[in-house]
Amino acid sequence: MKVFLRSTVIGLLGCLACGLSGCTPQNSGKGQAKITVWHWMTDRDAVFQKLAKDYEQKTGIKVNFELYAPSDVYSQKVRAAAQGNNLPDIFGILGEKRDFSSFIKAGHILDLTPYMEESKGAWKNKFFDKALAINEFAVGNSYGIKSGIYGVPIDMMTIQMLYNKDLFKELGLNPNKPPQTFSEFLEIGKKIKEKNLQGLVSGWGEVWMIDCFANNYAFNIMGKDKVMATIQGKVSYTDPDWIKVLTLFKEMQESGVLATGLVTMINKKAEQLFANGKAVFAFNGSWCVNVYKGMDPNLNYGAMLPPRANDKLPMSIWGGAGSSFLVNANSRNKEEAVKFLQWFTDKDQQAYLSQMINNLPANKESIKQLPGLLAQFSKDTEYATHPNLWEVSEFPAVIEAWDKGIQSIIIAEKTPEQVAEDVQKVKERELARKRK
């Protein structure tokens, strides 16, 4: 019995010791630094590993890229690690600027401004302004963060529209002249319906892409200032301009320009449909160039801005930094981590990354040799905006009500006016909660 009791106690203590050892911060060993990077980018992992080997050869510092996918899993892992102070030397955050600011306030992210400003801003000046802006907090920002640069962009992206040139010919349209206005776009919908083809495909089942599409038109119809005023609670979502934005979805549904089943379509499925030549239009990010190339290297398609609904204001698209890396402020290897990121975002490495995975580099000097379609995406970054660039951010509950409301309009369950009222109610509830 005594033996049993003793072994039970020892066993429990052992378990406790093992559990506690799991909480030990990483890279606590002495000697040559080893940098650990957590990421979620499945398509880039092989290229990252190759660059890590190059860096080790050059400096003797081992860089360990650890992939955690899908992105939901990665996101939860980073949050859990932040709670346990177990974050790696370098990591990324998938979320809104609000989350980014919480990580900074919690002391997990290193302020990179001094490194960026070194040697007359040599590192900072390598990047496109829009790529860097997502990682920047301006003076007097609404998040209460000390102004500065807190992240390193590794690529850029824009989300815009694509069209299948072969299907355009089949519809009797000029493949080099995509629709410029919303009414032209809706007219094509009628032809698509007649020919029994699929119209616009996109990952609107993953609601954030609906948000992105709707935001483009909100900027086009009412301009940035009014959108920001709405987020600040100064303009109601029941304002006629917002109802106009919602009505566009109703018009698209009625014209037949939207693919069937769009409201529950995931982006991967949308990419398959477009790459297989089953859909005339797609709404997708610049990463699609690599995806489509993998699915059908001969796909004949072009990129276009979403057709304008209002001639008086410019069309905006979501874009800017695609993915960014951040340095753990509590890492013992933060200096080495910064040096690695400086090397990683240098012209040659960025050009290699861009060439291998067909993305838009964040480094200005690497952009010279972009192939045709990527060059078009790159050119369109001038129209890019992004919620993470705005000084204010909308409540997540309002965004959800807005996106789900648009789904309701597409399935003809609610009118634009009803959705606008629902969204405004959620907005008022959230504002009241904030005031508490």
Partner: protein, 293 residues
């Protein structure tokens, strides 16, 4: 006296590891989750704002989507309790007889439950796809063009379609438990009934059904608990859409944590959901016990 104390301590020592594990992994997390439910916290910041019962009040009195998700899960549970369990019971009855290849059928019926839920969700999403899905293709091929439908994107059919897939995936568990229950009914009872002139229906009604009540209760409780907590299938097939038509409580809890970064609120949802599940199971158990008596 000392001997008795020693004996008692020895007995406690045997259950101590299990109690310790239960305490560490169930009781403490439950208390922590409840405690977090009293705070407004984004899951990242080291500071939490105490809001008392506000999260609980908001869920109960303001969050209509939460209650809609509860109704959706209830609808799926109703389908599982009826369609899924009746099918499982009938198949178990069939396999309990002396039929050819009964072991093969037993194996086949148990395949869906052991498949990965993610894989099942993705495969069925492909089968039910409104544009190029296998089901629509078969319907069109067999001249039933009028039945071709956008199964997962139409609010009229989305939840039922997911519920049907869930039932298909889950009926194997019920089948296995029912079969095990049927096999322990003494055969002599059926022989005696046959000697007394009872036909198959009377034997079923007077012997099989009463003897199976404990198994039926257990399967029903497991079905309720399993279906109310459905998540992966919804996540892979519809992600709660179109609009909120296939949202279930666990997707809402996940949305509160992932989308809204309201960890405190998500914890409060988890506590309320847990209490509802316990209440449902207890009610079901009491009702079934009453019926059995």
């Amino acid at each position: 006296m000392q001997q008795k104390l020693k004996s008692t301590l020895e007995n406690y020592a045997f259950v101590l590891p299990a109690v310790t594990i239960f305490f560490i992994f169930y009781v403490i997390p439950f208390i922590w989750v409840f405690q977090l439910g009293l705070y407004d916290w984004d899951g990242i910041l080291p500071t939490k704002i105490f809001v008392g019962m506000d999260n609980f009040k908001e869920i109960i009195f303001q969050d209509k989507i939460w209650w809609q998700s509860m109704l959706n899960a209830g609808y799926m549970t109703a389908i599982a309790l009826t369609f899924q369990n009746i099918l499982a019971f009938l198949l178990a009855l069939a396999c309990d007889r002396e039929i050819r290849m009964k072991n093969f059928y037993r194996l086949i019926f148990f395949i869906p439950p052991v498949l990965s839920e993610v894989v099942v969700g993705l495969v069925w999403q492909w089968i039910l796809d409104g544009n190029y899905g296998l089901l629509n293709s078969w319907l069109a091929h067999f001249g039933m063009q009028n039945l071709v439908h956008n199964w997962l994107s139409d609010p009229q059919t989305a939840l039922t379609a997911v519920a049907a897939v869930h039932s298909w995936k889950g009926f194997g568990w019920g089948f296995l438990l029912f079969l095990a229950g049927l096999q322990i009914i003494p055969r002599e009872l059926y022989e005696a009934a046959r000697v007394d002139g009872a036909n198959a229906w009377v034997s079923f009604k007077k012997i099989t059904l009463p003897m199976m009540v404990p198994v039926i209760i257990m399967v029903a409780i497991l079905t309720i608990l399993g279906t109310m907590q459905v998540f992966v299938l919804i996540n892979t097939m519809t992600d709660g859409g179109p609009a909120y038509h296939t949202e279930v409580p666990v997707t809402r809890i996940f949305a509160s944590m992932r989308g809204s970064s309201r960890f405190g609120y998500a914890c409060a949802q988890g506590i309320i959901f847990g209490i509802i599940l316990m209440a449902l199971s207890f009610t079901q158990y009491r009702l079934s016990k009453k019926a059995r008596n």
